[in-house]
């Protein structure tokens, strides 16, 4: 049925004729004189305004898709050029350990996020206990903490001379750090736990929504067939929630792959770290591109696995609004245990790092006040994030509205291409953008020299346009997805009605679809803004010389081992990151009758 839309709206040559009101003017009798219908000629000649707008729309959608695919194509070309004698070295000494560590990291993080996220979701969906409502949203808070900030905070918190180890030693009566050696966070298991407890909300969020959407009757059927609550969870609820878990886990793992700060701070040589290192320290762009292609393959593999896990099964249940599964009330020690259990991930993923950052930041502010650097970095962060948000929102709307406005498989394909960016980690995207932007800069510079004799200041790489480009490409999937979801909720007959009442496709979009979808668009824009503020790897590579954002400042301090304004920057990022948590909670709570 979808490509029925494709059959319409192609030919827009007929100009809209004037219409006449059907009723008599005031004072005339109720029965009007027979109407004279103005004859309307068929114009098949020059196209009117909408006739020009639509090809422009297609062109814009096509260009957007091209912008997204360009860095990937560039990566391929760059890798093909070979990296001199270095590629054998990379193949022998860099790639195997990086793959090994990355695989272990992904497996470990996968297990942690699935266990913690699903367990937490079941806890708040199936049981009622004091504090449950609080836990409902508090479990989302770690979303506000980027992985590199969690690592930054925990490195200091768990430092051998830091507060936690100090307290443990004091409790056990040891005087010196070397008397009691605790496991070091700077290890693969440490990195797994840290990423897991920060990234589990990606699983918690969709799984919780799915548990809440599940019809009570399914669970009750399980109970009536003799299964105990635990068995119902394992045999009914869990298999039904599989697509949500798969989706959440794949997003969490993409984040883990995207991470560069945490892994580097904790000394884990993942693929991302290796790519960055190959480019920055070895200045080997082709080598980095080769590694990036390997990593891109890993990302696509992840997505393929997730698609496979969701394939072909019915999960949605009945079409009507289902009765919500009633929560089992807990009381006494059981309720307390449930609350304590639920608070563990919140404490580890948010409370501990956030309160550490708050304490450190306030100490710093007391001592040195708000530094000018932080202010200008905040401004930089804000400007780049805001620009990228505007660009991504507009382009997202353009590609998402394509199938609706113009129909056809062609626009559907453009939409898929344009939203491919979420699968490309920031570091890969940045590496992929370097060659084409450098080439473009060179071209423009050459043209400028030839024409005016004066060299041109760098265009793409120097101005931050590259950064905005990278952000927009990376997060286009978010804005396009929210536009698409919003547009899909507008009944088709409303758009048809607008057409019948004399508006062209673009007019219908402006007067009917947009006013009805702007909350979804704003929601998507907010998510993108926050993601841009948090983004680290692409920012590190693509920011203009001598421009620092909050994220790069924090990275710099952590990399140097200094802790000056880092906590303030981190706290600001976390504060911005809290914005969408409330929004996410509201959006992901299904509306079902009580």
């Amino acid at each position: 049925m979808t490509d029925r839309d494709g059959l319409i709206d192609r030919d827009l040559d007929g100009a809209a004729p004037p219409r006449r009101a059907a009723v008599p003017v005031r004072g005339a009798p109720a029965v009007p004189a027979p109407r004279t219908r103005a004859p309307r000629a068929v114009t098949t000649g020059r196209a009117g305004r909408p006739g020009l707008l639509l090809p422009a729309w297609t062109l814009a959608a096509g260009l957007t898709a091209l912008l997204v695919l360009a860095p990937v194509a560039a990566l391929g070309l760059e890798a093909l050029q070979g990296s001199g004698g270095l590629w054998p070295h990379l193949l022998a000494h860099v790639l195997p350990p990086a793959l090994h560590d990355t695989a272990l990291l992904l497996a470990g993080v996968g297990i942690v996020v699935v266990v913690v996220g699903t367990g937490a979701a079941w806890l708040v969906a199936a049981y009622e206990f004091p504090g449950r409502r609080l836990l409902d949203w508090a479990l989302l808070l770690p979303l506000a903490v980027p992985t590199y900030i969690a690592a930054y905070a925990y490195l200091d918190l768990l430092h051998p001379v830091g507060p936690v180890q100090g307290a443990i030693r004091a409790l056990l009566g040891y005087a010196r750090p070397r008397d009691l050696v605790l496991p070091d966070l700077r290890s693969l298991p440490g990195c797994i736990l840290l990423l897991g407890f920060v990234l589990y909300p990606y699983v918690y969020l969709p799984t919780r929504a799915l548990f809440l959407m599940q019809s009570a009757t399914l669970v009750e059927a399980g109970r009536s067939l003799g299964a105990r609550p635990a068995a119902v969870f394992l045999r009914v609820a869990l298999p039904l929630a599989r697509p949500a878990i798969a989706l959440g886990a794949s997003l969490a793992l993409l984040e883990a792959l995207n991470d560069i700060g945490a892994a580097e701070f904790l000394g884990v040589r993942t693929l991302t770290v290796s790519i960055y290192d190959t480019w920055v320290n070895r200045s080997d762009l082709p080598g980095a591109a080769g590694l990036a292609l390997v990593m891109l393959a890993a990302c696509l593999g992840l997505i393929a696995v997730e698609r496979r896990a969701r394939r072909g099964r019915g999960y949605a249940g009945a079409a009507q609004r289902p009765r919500r599964m009633s929560r089992t009330p807990l009381s006494g020690p059981a309720a307390l245990a449930a609350l304590a259990l639920g608070l563990v991930p919140v404490a580890l993923g948010f409370l501990a790092p956030a309160s550490y950052l708050a304490a450190e930041a306030s100490r710093r502010l007391h001592r040195a006040g708000l530094s000018g650097a932080i202010l200008s970095e905040s401004l930089n962060t804000l400007v780049y994030a805001a620009l990228a948000t505007v660009v991504a929102t507009i382009l997202g709307l353009v590609v998402a509205a394509g199938p609706r406005l113009l129909g056809g498989r062609w626009h559907e394909a453009l939409l898929r291409c344009a939203t491919f960016g979420y699968a490309i980690p920031g570091a890969i995207l940045a590496i992929g953008l370097l060659p084409p932007l450098a080439a473009l800069d060179g071209l423009l510079d050459g043209a400028s020299r030839a024409l005016t004799g004066a060299p041109l200041a760098a265009m793409g790489l120097g101005t931050g346009a590259a950064l905005v480009y990278a952000y927009a490409v990376r997060f286009l999937a978010v804005t396009a997805g929210s536009s698409e979801a919003g547009l899909a909720r507008v009944p088709r007959s409303l758009g048809d009605a607008a057409r019948i009442l004399g508006r062209g496709p673009v007019g219908a979009l402006a007067k009917v679809h947009l006013p009805l979808t702007w909350p979804a668009l704003l929601g998507g824009a907010l998510l993108v803004f926050v993601d841009c503020v948090k983004e680290l790897p692409a920012t590190l590579i693509l920011r203009p010389l001598n421009v620092e954002t909050l994220a790069t400042h924090l990275y710099g301090e952590a990399a140097r081992g200094t802790y000056e304004d880092g906590a303030v920057a981190a706290l600001l990022i976390v504060a911005v990151g809290l914005l969408p948590v409330a929004l996410l909670l509201r959006v992901s709570t299904p509306k079902v009758s009580p």
Binding site: P18, A22, R26, P39, P50, R499, I500
Partner: protein
């Protein structure tokens, strides 16, 4: 199909329309003409293509073959594709499709862009005529179903369309309200002199509203006729069955007559030996005292209020016949009665299934 007067082109003329969605042939060669000022009903089961035909006429779907002309002007055909906003037709949607973000007045004025201010006044007047002036500032979702229906109707009429298309306009209303809204709608259509094409699956609705009815089946037009002609002289068994239930007696034509246990029925228009079905609707039987006609026995009586239906067993007939009597009627189960045929109301139709 009767052609419109040659001096004036048909308000809508559709020729050989074909439309296919994947494997579904929604329209398989549809030809139809709607005369200026008439209200035509497109009657058929769900999935027969009637809504598709409406959407093709509106310009929301493109036909694969055939032409659509509005007042003689080609709007769809080989190489021509006038978009919906340039066709000057109105469409009232089954779900009304009222814009939830606009008030009633804004909804009604939506189609008046680029028209003189008088058009707005006229639209307001129309709103007043349907008794909704007090709700002009309200949002549609706060109105009742009947009120929403009227807003949708006024919105479709406000721009003065040359042809109004209505897609199951009364199906979202409950039964009590439907009759009144139907009458009001027809009155408004007549008052504004609007030509209309209305899709419905309800024969009673088509009979009540339409000047003529086009009966559709599997993407084709089966018969176009006035309601009375379609009811009383259906050209096919399908048409007869669609309009009303009937007891069917299969038989063959012999000597220009169709023989039944109740007597032979003249059927000179059908070839000798052709398999036919004699359709007996409740009004085709007259029930009287025993001895008055063929003897029969009342098996069951269904009381409907204004009328009652008798189920009658007749010797030589395996299935019971039904007859309608005004009020409760004097007969009850077990009573013996006499039955005679009302020749004008008996239908003899070719048996499509036996052929």
């Amino acid at each position: 199909m009767t052609e419109p007067a040659p001096s004036r082109p048909a308000a809508l003329a559709v020729e050989d329309l074909a439309c296919r969605f994947g494997r579904v042939q929604a329209l398989a060669g549809v030809s139809l003409a709607v005369r200026p000022g008439e209200v035509m009903a497109l009657l058929g089961d769900s999935g027969c293509g009637k809504s598709t035909l409406l959407r093709v006429v509106a310009g929301l779907e493109a036909p694969q073959a055939g032409t659509v002309r509005l007042d003689g002007r080609l709007v769809a055909g080989p190489g021509t594709r006038v978009p919906p906003e340039a066709r000057g037709v109105g469409l009232m949607f089954q779900d009304y499709a009222l814009f939830p973000h606009l008030t009633v007045r804004e909804n009604i004025r939506f189609g008046l862009k680029g028209q003189p201010p008088a058009a707005r006044e006229a639209a307001d007047e129309l709103l007043e005529q349907v008794g909704l002036a007090a709700h002009a500032g309200a949002y549609p979702q706060t109105l009742s179903g009947g009120e929403q229906q009227r807003v949708a109707l006024v919105r479709a009429l406000a721009p003065g369309p040359r042809l109004l298309l209505l897609d199951e306009p009364f199906s979202n209303l409950d039964r009590r309200m439907r009759d009144r809204v139907r009458e009001d709608t027809v009155a408004l259509l007549r008052r504004t002199g609007t030509t209309a094409l209305m899709v419905t699956h309800d024969p009673e609705e088509a009979l009540a509203v339409a000047t003529r009815i086009a009966l559709m089946r599997r993407g084709r037009i089966v018969q176009v006729a006035t309601g009375e002609a379609l009811y009383r002289r259906p050209e096919s068994l399908f048409a007869a069955r669609f309009l009303a239930d009937a007891a069917e007696i299969p038989t063959r034509i012999a000597g220009g007559r169709a023989g039944t246990p109740l007597g032979a029925v003249p059927a000179s228009h059908l070839p000798e030996g052709a398999p036919v079905r004699v359709c007996l609707r409740p009004e085709a039987l007259r029930v009287g005292a025993p001895g008055d006609g063929l003897p029969a026995q009342v098996l069951r009586r269904t009381f409907l209020g204004a009328a009652s239906v008798l189920h009658l067993g007749l010797p030589g007939l395996s299935l019971p016949l039904r007859a309608r009597l005004p009020g409760p009627g004097p007969y009850g189960p077990g009573d013996a009665v006499g039955v005679t045929l009302v020749p004008d109301s008996v239908l003899v139709l070719p048996d499509e299934e036996a052929a």
